[in-house]
């Protein structure tokens, strides 16, 4: 009898337990049968790359930039820098040299046309203007050479002088590149200050361009202090100078304004603008020295032959002479009045 009661009690208890288990069942039905699969909800490289071009996480060291696990964009930058850039650079610079050589051998040097005013001098650039020009120019030459060294040094110079000598040279080229950038940027600011007022484009420039600037046809179209070509050089120098300054500063101060992808783009822009800038300045150097007789004096001594000035910048000469006739005589060391 007692055994019967016990059996009944046990049966009831077992039924109750089973019922509880049955209610709980859907929540953990799979648990005992299959192994857990943590990969099912774990992060995955392919999935993360689909969400974002780089894989970013959390890091426990103070350098938070290290939290980027994988950023494959560097491979594209490398492809540009090593694949395209040497060819673009070579094409721009050698192409410009070839074009200038072709121009020199076909058109020849643009001669000074003699008139009764030959021998008389007129002040074209005062001391400060020449100082600004030459400070920017010398910095530019060093910056251009040390900049090209980044692209072509290991290809052209390193096989000639050996890796050790080249590394020493490249180190000093880097120092000069980053430190002479500052007087260069200052020079650009000075140029804007002293020449901006003479470089506003106007209708006379359009006439000058239509007449071919005197390069193609005969005779000289009218021009004020700067003709349209010189205005183009001015705006090119200040515009490219500013662009080089901004992109350069982004690289001088890593992570202040951009992340690593930003710096890759900045480096690409800096190098592309750089080689175009160098090619354009080659043309500027040519026309200011070898290409045109009498032009160099403007930046050399600051005084140009009146006959040259009359033919190339007739409106400016008229203005200057009118000023001289009515006002005080200009002395060589005095800045021309506005």
């Amino acid at each position: 009898m007692r055994l019967g009661t016990m059996l009944t009690r046990t049966f009831i208890a077992a039924t109750a337990l089973m019922a509880v288990a049955a209610i709980d069942a859907p929540a953990r039905a799979q648990a005992p049968t299959t192994a857990p699969n943590p990969t099912a909800d774990s992060v995955n490289e392919d999935l993360l790359f689909k969400q974002d071009p780089k894989i970013h996480g959390r890091i426990s060291i103070p350098d938070q930039k290290a939290a980027n696990l994988i950023q494959p964009q560097g491979r594209e930058w490398r492809g540009f820098h090593e694949g395209w850039m040497p060819w673009i650079g070579a094409a721009a610079i050698l192409g410009m040299i070839a074009a200038l050589a072709l121009f020199f051998f076909t058109r020849g040097r643009i001669k000074l046309e003699h008139s009764e005013e030959s021998g008389k001098k007129i002040l074209r650039f005062n001391g400060f203007e020449r100082f600004t020009h030459w400070m920017t120019a010398t910095c530019f030459v060093i910056l251009a050479l040390s900049g090209l060294n980044y692209i072509f040094g290991k290809r052209l110079l390193m096989p000639l002088i050996g890796p050790e000598a080249f590394a020493t040279l490249a180190q000093w080229a880097k120092y000069s590149h980053v430190y002479l950038a500052w007087p260069f940027m200052l020079g650009i600011v000075f140029m804007l200050a002293v020449w901006l007022k003479d470089n506003i484009p106007n209708r006379i420039d359009w006439q000058w361009i239509k007449a071919g600037g005197g390069f193609i046809g005969k005779g000289h179209p009218h021009a004020e202090r700067f003709n349209a070509g010189q205005k183009v050089v001015f705006w090119m120098v200040t515009g490219f100078g500013a662009a080089m300054g901004i992109t350069g500063l982004m690289m001088l101060f890593p992570f202040y304004a951009t992340d690593i992808n930003g710096m890759q783009i900045m480096q690409g822009l800096h190098s592309l603008i750089g080689v175009v800038f160098i090619a354009a300045i080659l043309a500027h150097i040519y026309i200011g020295s070898l290409g045109m007789e009498g032009a160099y004096d403007a930046m050399g001594s600051g005084e140009v032959d009146l006959a040259w000035a009359r033919s190339h910048h007739d409106l400016w000469v008229e203005k200057e002479q009118a000023k001289t006739a009515s006002g005080p005589q200009l002395r060589p060391h005095q800045a021309p009045a506005e």
Partner: protein, 73 residues
């Protein structure tokens, strides 16, 4: 010619001046990434310690500034 000479001298002088001015804002990794709890001193000469220059002697290879003294509070 005088303007040219002055310009070259000025460019070099400004470049050198820029190097000194910039050196004051240059930070070593051990300075930049030290925290209030991790007060790091000059890490010495091993690996990339600031005094290590290799064969190339450039400007400012010496330590730009003393490590910031740790604040105890």
């Amino acid at each position: 010619m005088k303007a040219f000479a002055v310009a070259v001298i000025c460019a070099v002088a400004l470049g050198i001046a820029a190097s000194y001015v910039l050196a004051t804002s240059q930070k070593f990794a051990w300075q930049a990434f030290s925290t209030t709890s991790a007060r790091v001193s000059q890490p010495g000469t091993n690996l990339v310690g600031p005094r290590w220059t290799g064969d190339v002697k450039g400007p400012h290879d010496e330590v730009a500034g003393d490590p910031q003294p740790g604040k105890r509070s």
